[in-house]
Subunit: 349 residues, 2 copies
């Protein structure tokens, strides 16, 4: 059977799904609906059906799965309608404005016996898969700090992502990806508490920078920092272990794993800094550090659609499960609560 | 009158003070006492008096000021005895094992009408003075994040600094410097709360890594991370402002101030990452960023001794005041409390 896709919202992400999902075996893009007639026309020009109304799309029998790629504040209504029309539903991230909305979406899919999932595509990011592979391998020894950063210089949240009423802001836009990665990798019940600071650096309505720290039940901690106006870019990932340190500079395999060469001859010397001596932080010769390449990974975004296809066909368990995105959304709500109150917020159920 | 110095503890720091303080006008190093006869002999070999007992040093009339450079757990007792013997007191950092001890030291100096100060020499670190100058200048615009890091690869806390009973550990050893810098620079009453994680990465008794975040009353936040086994070194300082970002790589003037060139022609383009598109974090051409040099500063450690000398002579106010180090010590105690309980700890009085 596979996926016969109808796209709601033929903007940047809707077009992305059309171009990319249609290349996957068992996925056929049937048509798209948009409130903007220009975009409906664009869909037709791109060789799929253009629907001028939501009803047309939802009543199209060829379509068994609906992709919702519109601003956040319309997700709930459209996903519920699609499920009620008997369609499987793939929703763009962030899944909803709040957990209350999400619960209605999950309930609608359940009521209608349909699959409901969210396009958490960054679980297939190469940098993330590298980090996951390193952590799973245990090669850093006991890891105590996991640091996930994204620094840009654009200083802009584009379109509805800059508007509060549409559910914009950095926590929903990128935070939802990074927290999804971290919770999927480190365990959904491993997140004990969050402390978060948000700032409107270049934006008026929504935060375009946040920094948060997660305390984990297993004793480790996680630092997450995302900003559109951080002009000195730190590595995308830093992992601190008691045997080695790993870093990934960007979305690619650019980075390394650094350990000490136990055979290198070193002696501890006291060095002078401008105001005093230190032995603890005296620089050590370069040959003390051994840097190896990051592991190779297969990070194929098309796995996402293949999994949804197979889940629809009853051949696989869904990878991006509704209860997972619900956990992530609850954490984001807790992060906002922390930022507003200045308190540490518990993530225990 | 100036400083006629008697040194208690002629180890690494005691020797440092002898060599460096004696070069300063109005500072004369008279002699040193140590429990280790070899070190007493070393002092004599270096041309000053060697005292075999504390009493000899404290009863030496030539000495008007005592420098205490011994493990932390002996500071209180020795500083109180020195003050009771009618000496001004300079104590090495960390000043004491806890605030209770410090209060006894402050009281003893007060009772005897003597000056009591702590060798918080890193207020004269070049990197710190550069950061202070940048923040004071306002050239970054509104600053929202101040990040102070020190990453080493030694994996060792030397000597008593690795022992709990002597008051070792990274918060007392280096945390006390960095928190002193931050509170002196950002305002002692500006520190609202702290969340801290400590780890024993390579050490058994004491923490050799900590990460903490300060929430400030003025809305900004501060991240501090110090570790002896962080093999990917991030910059010593990162300052995020809404007009520019500054970074300092190490203890020197190595770093820069980055702002955007408003005249550069740019357009916002969507880029593909391995799992999806982004416009918000699309890399921008190099010419968009303008990097300027860090400001020049005068950072002269000898100012510390000159100030103590002038304070003794009634010509200047003490720069490192007892109430300041007391505030810092209270913050460190709060950080330990946070690390032990997993709670955010208030720093409001």
């Amino acid at each position: 059977m596979g996926i016969q896709l109808g796209i709601i919202g033929y903007g940047g992400m809707g077009g992305f799904h059309h171009r990319n999902a249609s290349r996957i075996e068992g996925v056929q893009v049937i048509g798209a609906y948009d409130t903007d007639p220009v975009r409906v026309h664009a869909a037709e020009k791109n060789g799929i059906k253009g629907f001028s109304t939501l009803e047309e799309l939802l009543s199209c029998d060829e379509i068994n799965t609906v992709l919702v790629a519109v601003p956040n504040d319309k997700h709930m209504e459209l996903c519920v309608e699609a499920a009620n029309a008997g369609k499987h539903v793939i929703c763009e991230k962030p899944v909803a404005m709040n957990v209350r909305e999400l619960d209605q979406m999950i309930a609608a899919a359940g009521r209608n016996g349909k699959i409901f999932t969210v396009h958490q595509n960054r679980r297939w990011d190469k940098d993330f898969r590298i980090v996951k592979k390193i952590l799973d391998s245990g090669e850093l020894g006991k890891v105590y700090s996991i640091q996930s950063r994204l620094h840009g210089s654009g200083g802009v949240m584009f379109g509805w992502r800059g508007e509060k009423k549409h559910g914009g802001g950095m926590l929903y836009d990128w935070g939802v990806h990074f927290i999804d990665q971290l919770m999927w990798m480190l365990g959904y019940n491993n997140f004990k508490s969050v402390f978060c600071k948000t700032y409107h650096v270049k934006t008026t309505e929504v935060e375009d920078y946040f920094f948060l720290v997660f305390d984990l039940e297993d004793g480790r901690h996680v630092q997450v920092e995302i900003g559109t106006f951080v002009l000195k870019e730190l590595p995308r990932w830093v992992l601190l272990g008691d045997e080695a340190t790993a870093y990934v500079n960007d979305f690619s395999r650019n980075g390394g794993i650094i350990r000490l060469d136990s055979t290198a001859e070193t002696k501890s010397e006291i060095i002078m800094t401008s105001a005093g001596p230190t032995r603890t932080f005296a620089p050590r010769p370069d040959n003390v550090k051994l840097e190896s390449e990051l592991p190779e990974v297969q990070a194929d975004w098309s796995e996402y659609y293949k999994n949804v296809r197979d889940a629809i066909d009853g051949k696989a368990e869904l990878i991006v499960q509704p209860w997972q995105v619900r956990k992530v959304l609850k954490v984001i709500e807790a992060a906002f609560q922390s930022a507003e109150t200045g308190n540490l917020v518990s993530l225990r159920d």
